[in-house]
Amino acid sequence: MAYDDEDSTAAPPAAIARDDPSKVENEDVEDAEADEAISDFRKFASSLPGGGSGGGGAALNKKAAPHVSGKTVRRGEKDFESHGTRLQENTLEVSRTAMHDVLSYTRMRTPDNYMTGWYFPGHWAQEPREDEKPEELWRRDRVVALEAEKGQMTKSMGRVLRGAPKNVPGWDKAWLLPEEALYLVERGDLLLRWPRGSIEGIFPPPVEVDGLKREVARGEDGDYELGLPLSLQAAYSLFIGNEGDRGKITLEKFQVYSQLRRAGYLVSRASPLLDPPPPSDTQTLWQRLFSLISSPKSDTPKFHPAMGPLVRPGLYRSYESVYHQLSLIPRHKPTPRPNTPAPEGPFTVAYHVFKSRPGFTKTNLPLPDFRIAVVNARTTDVPDLAEMEALLGSTPWDPPNARSGAGGPGIGHMYQRLKHGWRNVIVAVNDNGMVSYLEFMESAFGEERLFERFDAKPKPGGKKFSGRNQKGGRGGGRGGRGGRR
């Protein structure tokens, strides 16, 4: 029986998927996979080099691994329930064995293409947080020093702390944040080591003859005496912590981080220092004074009689003046400099997410494409208005216009503008390793003045009709009809 459509409700993260061609290409597959997190490992195993079995020679060479696309690993057919046949049992057993084989893999490389990182959790702990510069963000949390940067991954990870004095050991090394280190360990790109000696032993300061100390430290067991290579389990125990622990990351944040990285996005920890300053106030004093005087007129009328009609009797030549009198309830007006408190707790932007692009440099980050807050589904309630306002207030001013991709002015782009909002943020909800993404934006319906259109003079030549046709042509969009499902 085709029970495949049962997962039709599990939409892919729309906001994430919308501009990414690779994501769109695999969308149907992901839909199919969405419900059943455990998929057909038999096909996956056969798509891996060397049959996917761990420890085997051929499987170890990463270069030989072909790109495993979503199509090749499409899941097999499933059954509704157990019918006690041996066929069913056998199929399940084959799947389980394949899963066992695939997951028994041990991360292994030759030293040439295996990065080595040393765990020094306390090295930058004493650095003051206040005088951080955008180039060396989060240095107190950087706990792993890379011996040498190798491969593509380091183009977006790790930082050399240029501000550090040159007599500090490890000053010229790239330092990783806990999530970066853990992700690299998981990928099999990083060998994490626990130093048995001090940092001077690992990275001798430049005054000493380089290499001398290292030679001394190496005994019969060679490198192993300098420091212990750590396991994946050890890496998790070192890097996973509670919110606010220095040099650690919460598991829900790490899972979101690694999921985004796997999907091809570039991710950096958020910091207010990376946000652009709010647009400067370009109004002159006179303009502002003038706006103070004139604004009540254009907004709600000052005076409404306690009794009597809302619209004063009289002769009206335009709808606009009527609608002005009708507007009683003050509406939300987005402002570039909101008076919201700094966000607290889980509803805080945790990561800046960038689409993969050529010329991306980690030292000079462009403006992020998305901002993501991460919450735990089990411990977090729906945000209240104050939390949401604070969260949105912490994101930069992003009014809907042609530049921000929300179309131009005019009624034709109204829904695009409403959907884009004036600020936006994505909330990733993590329930024990499963993540859903929700996009929140600050919308302002009061900014869309429909009545202004009523006063426009009907132009000759059926212009009005073409306007209607335009509306009808957009029928597939998310217009007002969306509510009737």
Partner: protein, 317 residues
């Protein structure tokens, strides 16, 4: 089921209130014998740019950890504290651990070398036969066009294999050396999945057992678990648990379950929402909770799992 077998207990490592299992044998054991599959949350090193297939560790729900502890098949260790302390304290376990790494890398290197040698031998054989072929073909002046294409395609094949054959470089370098120095310069490095021997407590010490905080829906979970159902987190269907009649590798889920207190008022709209969503995705909406009654208070032990569950079907509007 097999809880009386001599199998060592499953070690659940607790890091910041999350419960992880790293050992693949433990994972498969839980799957086969205790109908617990859980979510794989790790990146797969063999295919690190996709999220459809995930690798170790698995993240247990708190309920799963608690059920396993109650069944006496697992124990929970506070790894955020114990594990770093264990690494920092150098001891005889270090040697065991390093030996384990060396065994793994040694084995891999050996098998790699063998496969490289086998391939080399094959190439040598192929090359020789190809040369022969060419010579044979050069001799007669009159070549049929068919023969030319065969030879050129064989050439192309050989070129292609050598082009993509990046494997033997490190191993090939070592094979040229004498057997004594063969392994020393190119010792492979490995990141094991579990810390294994390193975690063996020193004599007189024990691994600190951590507690498990379970949510209010735990009785329902334990009840369904006891009945042999597999359960996954319910995020995708807006419920507490997604309930499968068997291993999710093979079966679709039947229920979306949400736990309630026995005397808790349930918003009727929640029932409609759950029921309607469930019907749409061909599942039943299931609610349940522990029976609160005076009898249960009296005889706690016997009716500890006195849970009742109801499934709701959305009929029509």
């Amino acid at each position: 089921m097999t809880s009386s077998s001599p199998r060592p207990h499953v070690r659940i490592s607790k890091a910041a209130n999350r419960y992880l299992v790293f050992d693949i044998d433990d994972v498969m054991y839980l799957r086969r014998n205790h109908n617990i599959c859980s979510v794989f949350v790790g990146t797969m090193p063999q295919a690190p740019q996709q999220s459809a297939f995930m690798g170790l560790p698995i993240e247990l729900m708190a309920e799963e950890a608690q059920v396993l502890v109650e069944k006496n098949v697992a124990f929970v260790v506070d790894d955020s504290n114990y594990h770093p302390a264990r690494i920092a304290a150098a001891g005889p376990q270090d040697k065991q651990y390093i030996d384990a790494i060396k065994t793994v890398t040694g084995d891999a290197q050996r098998s790699m070398r063998e496969s490289t040698e086998a391939r080399k031998a094959m190439f040598a054989y192929k090359g020789a036969s190809k040369k022969k072929e060419k010579k044979n073909k050069k001799a007669p002046d009159t070549q049929s066009s068919e023969d030319v294409t065969v030879a050129s395609s064989a050439d192309a094949e050989a070129a292609a294999t050598s082009l993509f054959d990046t494997t033997p470089e490190p191993a090939a370098a070592t094979t040229k050396n004498s057997p004594v120095t063969r392994e020393a310069p190119e010792a492979w490095l490995a990141t094991l999945t579990t810390s294994g021997a390193l975690l063996t407590p020193s004599p007189g010490q024990e691994e600190p057992i951590a507690s498990v905080d379970v949510p209010a829906s735990y009785p329902l979970y334990a009840h369904l678990q006891d009945k042999g159902y597999f359960m996954m987190p319910g995020l995708r269907f807006g419920c507490d648990y997604n309930v499968y009649p068997g291993d999710p590798l093979r079966f679709h889920s039947h229920f979306q379950a949400t736990g309630f207190e026995w005397n808790e008022d349930i918003n009727l709209l929640d029932l409609v929402t759950g029921g309607r969503l469930g019907t749409n995705v061909k599942k039943s909406f299931l609610i349940g909770g522990r029976v609160e009654s005076e009898e249960r208070q009296k005889d706690e032990a016997e009716t500890a799992l006195d849970v009742r569950a109801f499934s709701i079907e959305w009929a029509a509007m």
